[in-house]
Point group: C2
Chain length 340, copies 2
Amino acid sequence: MVTIYDIAKKANVSAMTVSRVINNKGRISEKTRNKVKRIMEELNYVPNEMARSLVLRETQVLFLLVTDITNPFFTTLARGAEDAANKLGYRLLFGNSDESLEKEREYVDTILKSRVDGVLLAPAGDGSLPHLESLRAHGVPFVLLDREVPGIGSDVVLGDSREGTRMLMEHMIALGHKEIALVNGSPEVSSARLRATAYKEALKLNDLAAPPERILELSYAPRSSLARIGEWLDGLHPLPTAILCGNNMMAIQTIQAIRKKGLRVPEDISVCCFDDLGPVGEIDPFLTVAAQQAYQFGYKGMQLLIGRIADKENDGGDDAWTRVLLPAELVVRRSVADLR
Amino acid sequence: MVTIYDIAKKANVSAMTVSRVINNKGRISEKTRNKVKRIMEELNYVPNEMARSLVLRETQVLFLLVTDITNPFFTTLARGAEDAANKLGYRLLFGNSDESLEKEREYVDTILKSRVDGVLLAPAGDGSLPHLESLRAHGVPFVLLDREVPGIGSDVVLGDSREGTRMLMEHMIALGHKEIALVNGSPEVSSARLRATAYKEALKLNDLAAPPERILELSYAPRSSLARIGEWLDGLHPLPTAILCGNNMMAIQTIQAIRKKGLRVPEDISVCCFDDLGPVGEIDPFLTVAAQQAYQFGYKGMQLLIGRIADKENDGGDDAWTRVLLPAELVVRRSVADLR
DNA sequence: AATAAATGAGTTACCGATAACTCCAAATTA
DNA sequence: TAATTTGGAGTTATCGGTAACTCATTTATT
């Protein structure tokens, strides 16, 4: 490995001079600067960021931890975060916790050990509290995405779960649906709680029955719930005419479960959900959704995070926490039948 | 920040003793070991990986660079790579080059600077050669995924583009299609070249015409080609009865372009492509594809990479390059019309 | 012309860990 | 009993950079 000392020796200067050339700091004559630069190219020098970060105590690296890398909501969010990070001069690394507190814990440990400058994360659930406390205790700034965690304050970018749910519910009710079920994420997750509450509110407001068995609570975790949704449906009498799903991945599995029973969507049961489906969903614009601004989640979250880091460095930063609430948009397609 | 020196002082031992406890190396009495461990917990100590890596000259970190993080092929691949890396004790970081040589160059520079132990990458194209040469020159092991780059040898995991294309072509031809067009990735990309060649072979083998204007070459880059596909279609007389697409994202855009002209898939024009669509595609199993084993690309690639790293450390490793060819599977759905 | 200021660079210490070597005392062996 | 071995640590140098200070020349100022 070529180091600044190798360069220094060959250029007949001190290592410090090389360092100054690299960082464009301090006073260097044009002649020396060019000589050093030439030799750096000659030797194919690449700075060792680890040595640099060790002494500077900052890495210029940020971390994005999502709960499902195969969910288009999160990949779009990731692109937003990436764009913002690059624009603001940071490098961005991704991790995927798969909705698992255990994997999240491992990633948090990695983050702490690697002295990343800040973290953008969608927490796996309320059980993420100790992980966030770790980050806080070690002075690592973080911004939460999509979900809050009770017990700890922080900047956060949220979707408007309440209003989004209301829109979906009103849509279904307006089309004549009265028996509406809910397939939701775990109540461990703040967004799922808000959606459940708004779901019940909407039923009550419209004088509709809300038998508790019509709510199924599952993990948001991908690829795991098909069978359980099927069993739950088997136990429902009468079947609901429509099902609201807590997110896009659950809606997909719900549709599959319905079809497995030989029923059709939306003719037999309607389905709608939170979050859009990304490019793949465009092939067949079928699912009615409350689309969230996934890209903005990442972009705004990254801006908040980098703002925090700057505050911290300027020793300011005793601001209150910022809370960004992104509106959802009702996108009506064909998965909810008109019963009127 | 708590360091081993803080621990050492409080435990009345030397820093080296603390280091030994952390790494379970050398001889330590149970008594000292426990004392040190207790104090580490008390002070909430987290090792500084950067300092550690600096002296050890290895990071235990691997990098996965894909060309489109919103493509389900790559997110599934990423999960495979992640699983393999975790199983084998490495941490994995992701990057997204967006099919851009420039972004790829930036990521490669980041990789070099951060002294990652190895890289798994889908190169943006033949223009990636200098990037790979950089990695090679700096002794960073890498494994290519999905695409080869002429001019440099390496381990590589490829899909069987030739056979996959053949299967798709035979399928269309068997259903009576004679005017088959190709919307392909850039000839800068090895997989696109193979697919183009196999496409022409299949036409010739079946005595079908192959007018050059029936081939459209675009970037695989996402979200950019809709308009150009539309214009290209406008210039084709007669319209093809079927279009083979170089990958799933292009197929989506092709379908959209066809519909924008007021035509239907598959009634007016059939479409099929390489790569499946992931969970979102399950909502409406519509697109006929040559499904590649995305997860295996990541999993096998990671195994190869870690194997290389081990070879390098054991000073062995003058093996020839390994070349894994993963078969594609024809998944017939509804996007190709039966003309018979 | 004498003094002050600016320029261009070198020295030294340190960031937080580990390797390699040293050292002492207790246990083992001849 | 003297000579070895071994268990349990400590010392020092080093990884590859940067901050802060120092110092010798030039150049500008009065």
